[in-house]
């Protein structure tokens, strides 16, 4: 029993955790009433995607993707491509967060608050 559980966790556990993290992020974005908290949850979701990609690049017994003396087989190295992709994704998420914070400052200036309920009360709906 424990063996099965261990095998399952070793194989799929990290993906489960990543998806739970992503679900938490989306849940927070939907349910939090405070815009700042929504931005934080958005970041959590983006980090979950980054984790997902990074786990794709991992393998058992792989080493850093930098050419080491005497090791010439590709199998001995982990896949560096997901890391390269995620560098771009991190930059994009940084940009998104920056725009979000700038928008929040503007919203605070106009409405005097960043609580969704108070803003909706001020006639956003129509």
């Amino acid at each position: 029993m424990i063996d099965i559980l261990q095998g399952f966790l070793a194989e799929k556990g990290i993906y489960m955790l990543t998806f739970i993290l992503m679900g938490l992020g989306i849940f927070g974005m939907i349910c939090c009433g405070n815009y700042m908290k929504k931005v934080v949850c958005m970041n959590i979701m983006q980090v979950a995607i980054i984790f997902f990609f990074l786990t794709l690049g991992q393998k058992d017994g792989g080493t850093l993707p930098v050419l080491v003396k005497d090791i010439f087989e590709a199998e001995a190295y982990i896949n560096p491509l997901p890391h390269a992709l995620m560098l771009t994704a991190i930059v994009v998420s940084l940009g998104t967060t920056g725009v979000a914070l700038a928008l929040l400052m503007k919203i605070k200036e106009i409405y005097g608050t960043i609580e969704e309920e108070e803003i909706t009360g001020k006639g956003w709906k129509k």
Binding site: M45, T96, I107, W124
Partner: protein, 499 residues
């Protein structure tokens, strides 16, 4: 090597980056840098399309000379060649159109440099989105589009920042879902190049991962194109965006992800895949709900922009309907609708912005007898609205006609009924505007920017030209639709999507 595909993007990129710097010295030249580079990229895109039509071969451009499965590739065939021309065309005229707005604003020097720069980035993103042949590169361009879109929405009217913030949250979920889908595909195949993905996916037995990827793509592209249950961000964003950039945002920004969706479902996933039928049915249900919901909801509002925004939800539904039909006529209808709706909605938002500029009109009940005061804008408004309803000489009719043909070919007569009902509904909400336009009482309207106008009757020439061109293009697309379908779409749709 032919460098046109990358120059189309590189020119506006230079313009966008240099615009704030040049504006620091001379604001007028900063604007001219953006307008000039956008027109240059439009000219190049026309040359490129002419070359593709002549040779009949798609153009492949390898970034930095790295060969495809490893390097990033731009692939331009007949379909996205046309779409690139469309984006560059509307982008160039929108930049021309916005200049009176920016000049009328006080202390415009630095603000308007930022505006032109962001508008230019939006066009760059859309051009890249339609020309790239790499799945991850598509994500990056999608985010460039989204980030510049947030900026343009936020600098609009008073409620702009909140509309932009909501779009930011939803749009980020969409982009992350797309990235997730790419992750699944990458884990299954180990490649990111679209042509390579298509080959390698054929050899994969594990259908679960393909279904997961398809689901992620539907959500990702669906949010970006405002498909029915995922449309929540769209109406406020389209009604509160910067009025001059609104034509670009409403007309083009939601169509290009629809093209991306077509590309994914027909070029990468096989349309004969066992899961594809279910997926197409799901898209079809979303499309039908969206068409009816958008048309019904548009009846409710008196605000001109809100009516147009909700009608966009319905119109995007038509494109999704074409995708879900999945046969030749459906796809031709979808591509033709991308073109015709881009001109119609852009033109209508041009008229809306012209009304805002001249008299500060936001609501339809202020429109009474407006055609006496602004004859050109009024005429264009009527022509474009008739095209939206789908009356024969205009472009809107023919794309719906091809969609109906596709539905009949598949034996799905329900879709034909939906097309007719929604056309009637759109007739109702556009005739409500006509009623106010022709029979409403004439109101005493004051010029919104009296200092800039000097008692002129119409809006400035720079705004009239795009309005007229949009209306003329709708008529030309309608009259020349057989030419486009027979000479370009027939061959390329068969080759690209169904080959």
């Amino acid at each position: 090597m032919n460098h046109i595909p990358v120059l189309i993007i590189l020119f506006p990129l230079c313009g966008a980056v240099l615009c704030p710097l040049i504006s620091f010295l001379n604001p007028a030249w900063g604007k001219r840098a953006v307008v000039g580079t956008l027109f240059a990229s439009f000219a190049l895109s026309v040359i490129q399309l002419a070359g593709i039509v002549q040779t009949g071969e798609p153009v492949h451009y390898w970034m930095g000379g790295w060969a495809p499965p490893y390097g990033i590739e731009f692939v331009i065939d007949g379909v996205n060649g046309i779409i690139i021309v469309l984006v560059a065309f509307i982008g160039a005229f929108t930049s021309l159109f916005s200049s009176p707005f920016e000049e009328a604003n006080p202390n415009h020097r630095f603000k308007s440099a930022g505006y032109y720069s962001i508008l230019c980035f939006l066009v760059i993103g859309l051009l890249g989105l339609s020309s790239t042949g790499d799945a991850f590169n598509l994500y990056v361009f999608m985010e460039i589009v989204a980030l510049s879109g947030y900026g343009l929405i936020a600098i609009g009217e008073e409620k702009g920042p909140i509309a932009a913030f909501r779009y930011l949250l939803t749009g980020t979920i969409g982009a992350c879902m797309y990235l997730m889908g790419v992750g699944f595909l990458y884990s299954a195949t180990g490649t990111l190049n679209m042509a390579d993905l298509a080959i390698k996916l054929k050899e994969i037995d594990n259908t679960h991962i393909i279904i997961l990827a398809m689901a992620c793509m539907i959500v990702g592209f669906g949010i970006k194109m405002a498909l029915f249950p995922l449309h929540g961000w769209q109406p406020p964003a389209h009604s509160y965006a910067h009025p001059a950039a609104d034509p670009m945002i409403a007309g083009v920004m939601i169509k290009i992800p629809a093209y991306g969706m077509m590309r994914f479902f027909f070029c990468i996933f096989e349309e004969t895949h066992p899961a594809a039928e279910v997926v197409f049915n799901i898209i079809g249900v979303m499309a039908v709900c969206g068409i009816l919901f958008g048309s019904l909801k548009a009846l409710r509002y008196d605000k001109y922009n809100k009516i147009l925004a909700y009608s966009s939800i319905g119109q995007v539904g038509y494109i999704a309907l074409g995708i879900s039909l999945g046969n030749f006529y459906g796809l031709v209808g979808a591509v033709l609708h991308i073109l015709s709706h881009a001109f119609m909605k852009t033109g209508l938002f041009y008229t809306s912005a012209a009304l805002k500029y001249k008299f500060g009109i936001h609501y339809t009940d202020e429109l009474g007898q407006i055609y006496r005061k602004m004859p050109v804008t009024g005429t264009a408004m009527v022509a474009l609205s008739l095209s939206m309803i789908g009356l024969p000489p205009f472009a809107g009719f023919f794309s719906k006609w091809y969609l109906a043909l596709g539905a009949i070919q598949n034996g799905q007569y329900f879709y034909v009924a939906v097309l007719i009902v929604s056309s009637l509904l759109s007739a109702i909400y556009f005739f409500r505007i006509f009623e106010r336009l022709f029979m409403g009482e004439e109101k005493q309207l004051e010029d919104h920017y009296p200092a800039a106008e000097h008692g002129r009757k119409e809006v400035p020439l720079r705004m009239i030209i795009p309005v007229v061109i949009a209306a003329v293009m709708v008529v030309l697309l309608g009259l020349g639709n057989t030419f486009i379908v027979n000479n370009v779409l027939e061959i390329t749709v068969m080759e690209v999507f169904l080959g």
